[in-house]
Amino acid sequence: MTLAARIIPCLDVREGRVVKGVNFVDLKDAGDPAEQAAIYDAQGADEICFLDIAASHENRGTLLDVVRRTADKCFTPLTVGGGVRTPEDVRALLLAGADKAAINTAAVRTPDVVDACAKAFGAQCIVVAIDAKQVSPDRWEIFTHGGSRETGIDAVRFAVEAVERGAGELLVTSIDRDGTRAGYDLALLSEISSRVKAPVIASGGAGTLQHLVEAITLGGASAALAASIFHFGTFSLAQAREALRDAGAPVRDVVGYAP
């Protein structure tokens, strides 16, 4: 038996509501995060990812409350990201019901925070989220602040370093593809997944079931994350599992809750 490929619906949240934008702008409302989480839990999501895309200091209390309400609705592993800067932020999220915390901008600005968080809570609950944009045929660079701020940092090299520092997982988002439904950036995923031991979650660009399959079979990712295609009912999680199974990828046998 083998570790199953994971399909992860992502709840992008702003001010307590699920939203999904095209290239990080033009947000549409897709509902209440706790309600969405309960639906995905019942459908057998392998994990649920919860990203606070506004992530301001003032909103911290609201975020923790939404995480608490969301975690209370499901028995599915929950990764939460957005505005995680310190081990104390990670601790607050874990206490609210998150299983893993995703660190994004802070990992770029002060990479030591990854070491500190992994040391305090274990690598298995620290995810480093990488937002990358292709700048030349063989080079991707990290952009922060929702893709608006350029850093000049090589995304592949950064990914390797993040794992060395203790990241137990990488959430790799292609800014070029995010919201386009044109498919994941498979070259970026392969570059990173072939160089690290930690699992890679593919993000940005899922539009068809074939895209989810390719992330695993061609991109070398352990998990495929998607938002719009699930939120708006284009595809169900069951269809996604079926597509992976048909392609020969290891898939979980989901057992439904007793009534």
Binding site: M1, T2, L3, A4, A5, R6, D41, G44, D46, E47, A71, D72, F75, T76, P77, L94, L95, A96, G97, D99, K100, A120, F121, G122, A123, Q124, C125, G168, E169, K197, A198, P199, S222, A223, R252, D253, V254, V255, G256, Y257, A258
Partner: protein
């Protein structure tokens, strides 16, 4: 209703385990107090993070380990250890140096031995195959998918292995002996299969 003491020693996703036990029909009491442990019908020991840090957390609570030892080993209260809560049953932990464990099951807790192409941490859903019939671990039959998130495993005595999983190697994902059960995976995060396992634990009379 039976009381379950869910041990709070600053290491573990208590909230998730508490909710899952409630869903399984129990009334968990989150506590580290020796008198509450003495009064509890069952004990659940969660745990996340590093072996040494968890052992330090357990030891830091006055009288906690002694109260657990009396309830579980002397009185025979049914016990469930989850993730690092299972690993602590080892004689010794080898994560960040050598740390003495509770020693209730024995063996060592060491890093998972994986091949060049296997990911580490072992994160996600993998099958747990029961090694024998057991009133609690029967929830895993024939080989259900459950959720794992760890890099270290317990190498227990062979006669205590309750279920096994493959990732790079075949390792014990559950142990069982007398009134003790330990699981390396997270039943509180394994949806229906996990709730079923917890229900069986709540009803179990070893």
């Amino acid at each position: 209703m039976q009381t379950i003491a869910l041990i709070d020693y600053g290491a573990g996703n208590l909230r998730s385990v508490e909710r899952a036990l409630a869903r399984a029909g129990a009334e968990p009491v989150v506590t580290a107090a020796p008198d509450a442990i003495a009064a509890a019908d069952r004990i659940v020991l969660p745990g996340q993070g590093a072996f040494a840090a968890c052992m330090t957390g357990l030891s830091a609570q006055p009288g906690l380990i002694e109260a657990l030892r009396r309830a579980v080993l002397e009185r025979g209260a049914p016990f469930l250890g989850i993730c690092v809560g299972m690993q602590l049953l080892a004689d010794v932990g080898l994560e960040h140096g050598e740390t003495q464990g509770l020693g209730w099951i024995g063996g060592a807790c060491r890093v998972l031995s994986v091949g060049p192409k296997d990911i580490l941490p072992h994160t996600g859903w993998n099958t747990a195959a029961p090694a024998r019939a057991h009133p609690v671990l029967d929830a895993l039959a024939p080989a259900r998918h459950v959720y794992f998130n760890h890099s270290f495993v317990l190498d227990p005595p062979a006669n205590t292995i309750g279920a096994t999983t493959e990732h790079g190697e075949t390792f014990a994902c559950a142990v069982a002996r007398d009134n003790l059960v330990g699981v390396q995976f997270h039943p509180e995060k394994s949806q229906a299969v996990g709730i079923d396992l917890l229900q069986r634990f709540v009803r179990w009379s070893p």
